[in-house]
Symmetry: C2
Subunit: 188 residues, 2 copies
């Protein structure tokens, strides 16, 4: 890997399954590295959070990312789910900061806009667009796709959206949800 590439780790936290996605980015170029799902094990909450942290640490140790990205969550219709997701997210962020990784946060809306071009995209659309943007042979599993989407979103944010207009690497995006603003191609 060239020194100029930056390795990003996206995390989609959950108490049962936590998705992860690793990509390398350099200006306009994104390269897929790895993705998958951490199956969280254990009976009680402390045990599950430990399993979640251990899983994330294993991914960090294996792929050595330089920055991390996690979805900002909002309150769920079900308050109990909100609490559980909050705890999982707290543990996931803990795992990342304990590895001294910068943690970037984006809303679900920002992630969907980044990969599909609009904020109302369904899970399947996110999976498809992630596969296209990273030239994957098949759609990644949903949690892994969300984690990759987080990494892609941050990758785009890093290089400034405007750069999208110059390069074919993110060309898939230009077909949907992009528009010209002040003479530059920007995401909707």
């Amino acid at each position: 890997m060239s020194q100029t590439f930056t390795r990003l780790l996206g995390i989609d936290p959950g108490l049962r399954f936590t998705g992860f996605g690793v990509i390398d980015v350099h200006q306009h170029t994104m390269r897929y590295v790895a993705s998958g799902v951490i199956k969280v094990a254990g009976e009680g909450l402390p045990e599950r959070l430990r399993s979640l942290i251990d899983g994330i640490h294993q991914v960090v140790d294996t792929y050595a990312p330089q920055e991390s990205v996690i979805e900002k969550v909002f309150v769920n219709v079900n308050p109990q789910s909100t609490l559980l997701l909050g705890q999982a997210r707290g543990a996931a962020i803990s795992a990342l900061v304990l590895k001294d990784l910068p943690v970037h946060e984006y809303t679900a809306l920002q992630l969907k806009k980044a990969v599909v071009g609009h904020g109302k995209a369904k899970k399947e659309q996110v999976q498809e667009m992630v596969a296209r943007l990273l030239s994957l042979p098949a759609n990644p599993q949903a949690d892994a796709a969300d984690a990759l989407a987080a990494a892609i979103c941050h990758a785009q944010n890093r290089v400034q959206i405007a750069l999208l207009s110059q390069n074919g690497a993110l060309g898939g995006l230009s077909k949907k949800g992009m528009r010209i603003k002040n003479g530059r191609l920007v995401s909707l």
Copy 2:
């Protein structure tokens, strides 16, 4: 400290202030060790969770507890608060399990029953009873008192509530909220 004492760390997690309380327990006897409040610092959530974890780790390294106790939280009337508290709690549990501490969980109702004798106790009553049970010269700060209450609750649970009837160490409890059931003094 005698080898037969077990050191318990209670944690009352929060994103601004996290209370902690350390006690030594041996059968009927509880000894106060330390308590205080971790002032959580930092701007964004990841930074604050890191600060929270570092604070808990400092307490663990200083007092070397053998077990830990944390309040089970329930959904708040404010969903956003529920999410924030969930994240703080997730990070706090993470900090504890990463130090290989067993984490015991009790509901607010159980904590209040354990120290005050009934589940509707107000914050001030918890502070007063914690001070009495541990023979403190003054009431501890509210977050620290809740953390000590968690530790006391687990201490009582460990030795079985029935032992309370034999010993003066927890005698403060017998004046309020205790009743005789099947010939034994039990907490309400």
